[in-house]
């Protein structure tokens, strides 16, 4: 199993959710984060001075899926979260070794 962590623009959440659901991925966990990429955030001009707004609000989505679903999820997120401008976000994939359902008592180990 893998955990796919996507950090996206808040305004793209709806699109991402919809497109994932279409592909059959409903389950997910989201929360508000702030972040900056290598660009150190957004640069506003203010009376000739640079004024960098770092730590822009983003939404982090965590989705745990089977190994062979990783590519589909990545592509779906990428397509639906993209605007082409700085700040579109990143996707990280990391290993998950055990998944337990609290109610179902289902226990998947890899």
């Amino acid at each position: 199993m893998k955990k796919i962590t996507a950090i996206i623009r808040p305004e793209k959440l709806e699109a991402v959710k919809e497109n994932l659901a279409e592909k059959g991925f409903n389950a997910m966990t989201i929360f508000n984060v702030k972040g900056r990429g290598e660009q150190k955030g957004i640069c506003l001009q203010f009376r000739g001075k640079r004024n960098v707004i770092d730590m822009i609000p983003k939404i982090q989505i965590d989705i745990v899926v089977k190994n062979d679903e990783v590519e589909t999820v990545i592509q779906t997120i990428q397509r639906s979260a993209r605007t082409g401008k700085i700040g579109d976000g990143k996707i990280f994939v990391s290993p998950v070794e055990i998944v337990v359902g609290i109610r179902t008592e289902e226990y998947i180990e890899e």
């Binding site: 305004e11 957004i42 506003l44 001009q45 707004i53």
Partner: protein
Amino acid sequence: MVLEAGDTAFVLICTAMVMLMTPAVGLFYGGMVRNKNIISMIALSFISLAIVTIQWVTIGYTLSFGHDIGGLIGGLDYIGLKGVGMDGDGIPDMLFMAFQLVFAAIALAILTSGVAERIKLSSFIVFGLLWTTLVYDPLAHWAWGGGWAESMGALDFAGGTVVHISSGFGALALSLVIGKRIGFGKYSMEPENITTTLLGGALLWFGWFAFNAGSALAANGLAANAFVVTLISAASGALTWMGASWIKGKPSSLGMISGAIAGLVGITPACGFVGPLAAIVIGGSAGLLCYGTLLFRIHKKLDESLDAWAIHGVGGLFGALATGVFAVAAIGGVDGLIYGNVGQFIIQGIDAFVAVGYSFVMTYILAKIIDKTIGLRVTEEEEYVGLDVAQHGESMEL
């Protein structure tokens, strides 16, 4: 020319209450924008109050209430409050001036909602001063300062035309000039802080009693009538808007409070002329009509962002006409359409539509001029990070 302590007490407190409505407008709208713009939204209301105060005491009051020049504008008699003293007829002249001041301030504050989340602060200040001087002051003069509308016999007890049509249609014009918010219609811009909006709504409702009843300028039976119909109309508007939206889906608290505001706007010009049962009808109709206008606005994909047009503009227009329909001589000395006075209804119509036209066109022109010169709108990046950070260097810790 003697002062009446009871009347003076009443209008003093009413003036303070109407002043409170200006920050209340800020809270009301602040709760409806995205969290990154809430400080900006509230600050714009305070700033409206501050700049209008200085404008009014220097030039605005005399333009509105100086001796009439051709029915169009007041002369400069009271420039810098010259000759506005502590005496007066019933209430001190100074107090009348202050009561009028806070009306001018709130009109500008309402207008800010049309450009929510994208207006440049410096440009707003310039625009605000021009707008108050060239749009609000003439309208105030026409209706209350001895201008043509007053001479013609148009009725506007507490500012349906002067405050609500001007700010509502002004907001529409302004929103057309400044353009839609980035992403409008593409992604969700749901209100993010509804309790703040409800708090603002509560303070508006509270202040509105002073706005309407205070316009009697005396603590008497007429003030009591205005008070009662204000309360009824608000309740009625809240219930019809809530009811209508319930049919379509869930009854939101935002619909409920918007309906109350619609009812309050609708009764504003009428409150010194109509009775309690008419108030149920006026408030209820205003709720339905403004809700319909809001749906129309959304359907037309207009980003008149927080519905000042639907509620204040259309509600104020409706109220002006309804005054001509429901007025009853026993209350305010004039009968309306349903009591056979067709003339009054026509007068109301002329007054209201001239106000609609004037405020829309003038605001549009002013906005265009500002936009072409110093620019009305923040940059795309500033809009993206939000005006709190971009314009004020502040943010909420959430």
